[in-house]
Symmetry: C2
Subunit: 227 residues, 2 copies
Amino acid sequence: MEKAASQRASDIAYDKIRQFVLSGHAEPGDQLTEEQLARISGVSRTPVREAVRRLENELLIVRSDSKRLFVADWSADDIDEMFVLRGMIEGHAASRAARNISVRQLEEMGRISDLLDAAVTANPPDVAAFLAHNRSFHDIILEAARSPRLSAMLPKLIEQPVVSRTAQQYRVSELLQSARDHRELIAAFAARDSHWARAVMTSHIRRAFHAFSITTKRPRDQYQAND
Amino acid sequence: MEKAASQRASDIAYDKIRQFVLSGHAEPGDQLTEEQLARISGVSRTPVREAVRRLENELLIVRSDSKRLFVADWSADDIDEMFVLRGMIEGHAASRAARNISVRQLEEMGRISDLLDAAVTANPPDVAAFLAHNRSFHDIILEAARSPRLSAMLPKLIEQPVVSRTAQQYRVSELLQSARDHRELIAAFAARDSHWARAVMTSHIRRAFHAFSITTKRPRDQYQAND
DNA sequence: CGATAGACATTTGTATACAATAGCGTCAAC
DNA sequence: GTTGACGCTATTGTATACAAATGTCTATCG
């Protein structure tokens, strides 16, 4: 696995604990003690505490009434809710980006979009590359939105268990549609049309939710209650 | 000032540092060192670090390219953006609450609304009480929305410098309208009408933004660009 | 037999000492 | 005079020891 990004112990702890939780080594509801996590990560409790704070903030870990740590439990409704929020916020980000994006950023998005197409049309599709470029693409939008608030909130919704699990299982048809969305987003940005950008982004996210629902074979009675 | 809530050193540090930043003892852009903050809070660096993490998350403090701490700078656009996001998210919370709220919670909101009215119609208006009850009111909505995600995100947007500064300066007419909003929210909840609830909440927040704009005498050219 | 208090174990919280790193100034070489 | 390298200082990062708090088990009393 890749650690590369940083050698700070608290980051190592973050990665290890995150992986520990996501890989299913711990069941939702299981208690986690700082010492145990320190052993797993190979660092002392101090950086573990920092890592835990981050994970807690991302709602992968929760704290009991008083201070004991547990693996968070994500209900179907939680997941739906997460996608709803993400749709709202990313839609808003796209709307802002359409107003603020620079020519240079637009060109960069075009280049990334080419890479996305290449990854999708490869045989077999290069999902890892797709994910990486998809990430870059959305990062540029966030950057173009020029709002520290958005930049702070979105990672919390994106870096969630479901997302990583989901994207791995996209089917080719979904990847193709996703690539088309990216092209349309660029068009909306180029036209400086914030409404268009928001709409495309919203359906983009919503589709991801449906893809997730299907791949996880969950009955879809939870989203018809939306208004 | 009130500390009451907790005697944990990290909470003390949080309160003290927050107050230090908001009271204007530190200018936006000023560097803050952990040791300095530890001296101010009267605790060691360890809990200070936890407090700083929280404040960083709430965007009251920012970290430079590498790890040095500075007082965050809130531009006019940042503030507008904060209110926009808050409107979106609180609107969504209200929408969810309308679907999920319990009779008991509705009754509780009625009681709080009475207290709000009392605070507003007192002579002079009891702003402190108004703020406290307003807070309780919104807490119930958040609770009724039954979404950990929302509960985690909102405090970040609400517990901001501007909010506390703003509310102190509400004028009586604004307090009255605010109290009316609360009554209407209760009506929307009682009717289980999520659209109504969302709309009332959205204008409620938007009005707060305008009240803020006026009290801070900022030219209001920033919000006509919204879509 | 059930409840409750108290001792004991487990877990989190804090302080302090030390290590690593980033910023900054100085001095030397060209 | 400018530039670059070196070392010093300021600041953040980590480990460890200890303190406080929370949960749990058991024994005793009603």
